[in-house]
């Protein structure tokens, strides 16, 4: 019933008596939420960047408002607002359209929230990257008679990737750390799981250090991945300074 002081080895094991398997599930949930939120955020960012660069002034204003707002307000406040108000708003929208309100899974809500916040930042990163593509390449594509979509997909997109990757790598690291903020609204990702494990076992130092280690491993592996990705994407491009 109440947790007596179990031996350390037991608490740190996998299986029913130990917290390690919960920690691993928590880490997995963190990666899941981060990855899906990041993908959603990059997608939003892509549309946002294109909209900001070639949209009507109305679109530009809306997008400008979105990016300014989301980058000026603390992520924690945004996460709470979107989680409580956003999902409510979504359901209101669905109900007004005649659909049944859906029960939004906590995982999905977290993804939605983080993605929206990331979208604002990635809009700026992608916009800067697209602007950095040498205009000559775009003009050449136009001269060939490519449609806008073809221009984008065949010339702009591959060319802007090397410029985008450092910024996008930073955003990925940010989102893996911001996913910990979701703990404040009560989800079962790594930070919360650690809080429960630490509280249940009273081994605060051990578990928080363990969680820090897991995040560190995630960030180091990510660093390596993005370094490899940048090298790959830079193939055939003129070297920077």
């Amino acid at each position: 019933m109440f947790l007596a002081a179990a031996p350390l080895s037991e608490l740190l094991s996998f299986g029913d008596k130990g917290y390690l398997d919960e920690l691993m599930w928590g880490a997995f949930a963190t990666l899941q939420i981060s990855f899906l939120g990041y993908a959603f955020g990059c997608l939003l960012g892509l549309f946002g960047a294109i909209g900001k660069l070639s949209g009507s002034s109305f679109t530009k204003n809306i997008l400008g408002g979105y990016t300014t707002l989301f980058r000026a307000i603390p992520e924690l406040v945004l996460i709470m607002l979107i989680y409580y108000a956003g999902t409510n708003g979504l359901n209101q929208l669905l109900m007004s359209l005649g659909f049944e309100p859906i029960q939004i899974n906590q995982l999905l809500a977290a993804v939605f929230v983080l993605g929206f916040v990331q979208g604002a930042y990635s809009t700026e990163v992608l916009r800067a990257a697209i602007l950095a593509v040498p205009i000559g390449q775009v003009e050449a594509a136009k001269a060939y008679g490519m449609s806008s979509y073809q221009q984008f997909r065949r010339v702009v997109l591959p060319a802007m990737l090397p410029y985008a990757i450092p910024g996008l790598a930073n955003l990925w690291l940010n989102i893996t750390k911001d996913s910990a903020l979701i703990a404040v609204i009560g989800s079962s990702e790594l930070a919360n799981v650690t809080r429960i494990a630490a509280g249940g076992s009273k081994l605060y130092l051990v578990f928080y250090l363990l969680a820090a280690l897991i995040y560190l491993v995630i960030s180091m592996v990510s660093d390596q991945f993005f370094a490899w990705l940048e090298r790959r994407v830079r193939r055939g491009q003129p070297k920077l300074a």
């Binding site: 000026a72 603390p74 406040v77 108000a85 690291l173 903020l181 703990a183 928080y208 250090l209 820090a212």
Partner: protein, 229 residues
């Protein structure tokens, strides 16, 4: 929209704003001062200073601030029962308040990120200027104080506004360790009145206004500092 709660809670919000600003300023100042040696030592330093500094920055930048904060607050707190007499010691007023843990965690975090930035800045100062300083006989300390550091800080200035805004946006985490900053005030208002959205929107606006003032202040400062193009 329900704003009736607002007049009643103004003192609480003002106190919360005050605490937020104190958290921001103290963590930026302490973290900033710490960042200089942390960055410098990674450029010059003997290996026994360089490696810990590098490890510190990697740790800070690789782990979420929330975990760092909880590690410090609950981790250190869990040691207290094992230290007899701690409650009568002179440190107790500090050790028992969540506020100081928040200042510590935020300062270390700022130091970790800015240490990396300062490292880049120290590397970015043109070699020629340093060599010239040494050539006219300045001691290493004088070179640092009169040439290297000021030039590095000038390189960093344009990004400083963004870094400070970033730090402002980290301060809400303090409410998870009983600090009644703006976010803590909001938590209290929401739990007293059961109103969820309006207090959140209100403090979001306050944070936006603070961000606006910070960026404006730094734009002004940038104009004061001569930049040779």
């Amino acid at each position: 929209m329900n704003w009736e709660w607002l007049p009643h809670y103004i003192p609480l919000l003002i106190h919360g704003l005050y605490l937020t600003l104190v958290l921001l300023v103290s963590s930026v100042v302490i973290g900033g001062i710490l960042a200089v040696p942390i960055g410098l030592v990674q450029v010059t330093g003997p290996w026994y200073l360089k490696l810990p500094a590098k490890a510190f920055c990697s740790f800070i930048r690789g782990t979420p601030l929330l975990i760092q904060l909880w590690l410090i607050y609950y981790g250190i707190g869990s040691l207290f029962p094992g230290i007899p007499g701690i409650r009568t010691s002179f440190l107790w007023p500090i050790l028992r308040e969540g506020f100081y843990y928040a200042v510590l965690a935020f300062s270390l975090s700022f130091a970790g990120y800015e240490g990396e930035v300062m490292r880049g800045a120290f590397l970015g100062v043109p070699r020629g200027e340093l060599e010239a300083a040494r050539a006219i006989g300045m001691s290493p300390w004088k070179v640092l104080m009169r040439v290297w550091l000021p030039r590095a800080v000038r390189l960093v200035l344009p990004t400083l506004a963004g870094e400070i805004v970033g730090q402002l946006k980290s301060t809400p985490l303090a409410f998870t360790v009983t600090v009644m900053d703006l976010m803590g005030a909001r938590a209290k208002i929401s739990s007293d009145t059961y109103i969820m959205y309006e207090p959140l929107i209100f403090i979001a606006i306050i944070y936006m206004i603070l961000t606006f003032f910070i960026t404006r202040a730094f734009n002004y400062l940038e104009r004061l500092v001569p930049q040779r193009r």
